[in-house]
Symmetry: C2
């Protein structure tokens, strides 16, 4: 048995080919024999849910997850409800698209009170669980890198994500391990073990030096410093054998022909994941 990952688990996270619309991304995956895709809502919105579903189903692709729900903290009760309602629509979309996983990027606080923002995240998840469960959709908390604590997510460690998730069954709430977000964490391997049975997604990219951009600065696997294979093996040892999403947010990849990007992804995946 090879040391590398299985091609049957490879998933294109759609943000990696932001230059493509949904149809182009699906057709690209078919051409390059990538069996999974993770869909983003802004791409679905362009053509509508029914058409998105038809394209993916006709192509025979499997949907590894929907990106994304979350963004819970809000300055007012009204705004909070708007966010909960939007999350419910995301859950419905996930179910309709045939994926059981909604990735949660939990959101920043509306002000300096980070403890309150973290409570808002917990409350938001609590409010969604029954709805998600009734749709057969698991909520997957993705801790983001601490450098996004002020503008994307106050949930910044796998420890936090596990602590929230453990209040529910694994079918209700789990975590996403994204190597870009967690590689620096001194407690990483303990927390992956702790997440056994409730890892609902595994995302790969790399941390390149220097990082070219705070948001669009991720690298192709192998081009950076992350021990990706070690983390993949830890995630597998914790019982996760599902799709592995390649999620690389990088302007230079978006400026290339999508087919070239998919070719590099497959090569780097086999060599470095």
């Amino acid at each position: 048995m090879s040391d590398g990952p299985l091609l049957k688990n490879l998933s294109l996270n759609q943000i990696t080919t932001e230059q493509w619309n949904l149809r182009e991304a699906v057709e690209g995956c078919v051409r390059k024999e990538i069996p999974w895709i993770s869909l983003w809502r802004h791409k679905i919105e362009e053509i509508g849910l029914a058409e998105s579903k038809r394209i993916v189903t006709d192509a025979g692709l499997k949907v590894s997850s929907l990106c994304r729900g979350g963004m819970f903290p809000a300055a007012t009760a009204k705004e909070r409800q708007v966010k909960i309602d939007d999350n419910k629509r995301a859950i419905e979309e996930a179910a309709e698209l045939g994926t059981d996983t909604l990735v949660l990027v939990c959101g920043p606080g509306p002000d300096r009170d980070i403890d309150a923002a973290r409570s808002s995240v917990e409350n938001g998840i609590e409010a969604l669980v029954p709805f998600a469960e009734s749709h057969g959709v698991k909520l997957a908390i993705e801790p983001l890198h601490p450098m996004y604590a002020a503008d994307r997510s106050v949930i910044v460690t796998l420890d936090q994500a596990n602590t929230i998730a453990e209040q529910y069954t694994p079918q209700q709430v789990g975590v996403v391990v994204d190597v870009f977000h967690v590689w620096w964490d001194p407690d990483l391997y303990n927390q992956i073990t702790r997440a056994s049975g409730r890892i609902h997604g595994f995302h790969v990219s790399d941390w390149i030096v220097p990082v070219p951009d705070m948001f669009k600065g991720r690298g192709m696997m192998g081009d950076g410093v992350i021990e990706i294979r070690r983390i993949r093996k830890a995630v597998e040892a914790a019982g996760y054998h599902g799709p592995i999403e390649v999620e690389i947010i990088n302007q230079s990849l978006w400026d290339q022909p999508g087919d070239d990007v998919l070719k590099k992804i497959k090569e780097s995946y086999l060599k470095h994941v």
Copy 2:
């Protein structure tokens, strides 16, 4: 008694006025009645240690710390020794300048093996402690923000810094709490309490949104999202009542007249720290 910090504790970390040489920074502090200064080695090098000492002493300024030692991990034994030797020179310089605190920025790994790099840091500190102690200099481990894990420090949490420091007496090894580096940490206040008695420095700036630059992107206190006063009070509750260094690495500040920067620092310090 006011809720704000004491002016007698205000220290200018010299990197905040990178546009100034050492003499200019010292004279600026005198004009603005800032009683402390933290010196950087590249500024000392420009004029030599003896002259630097004379300028600071003649001005009646107190030196809160020397920045910086550390940078321990190395690819070869020879390179490692070069780094240890450089740290010993930094310890001698700190002692000569009349500060008892050498700030350690611990360094990145030479390769992907982050565990090995972290061990190198521990070994480097162990190798330095007797030398530092004999010079009356405390080693102060400054955990950096995890976004610097690949290029500046594999020590990224106060938990890691405390765990290393606790192997020694507080007079030998302690920690620096820099709000920019630790504000996101869900375990922050526990770790500050844990560090009681061995906090050897407290640095302030702010996290502005969006961050304009990975390295030179810190903000003036009050301009960002960090609960600076809350952290200052926690640090004081943990027994630290020493100098508070304003350490803002930001190109836009470096492009301003230094006196204007010092004026803003004093105002922001009193209002937001």
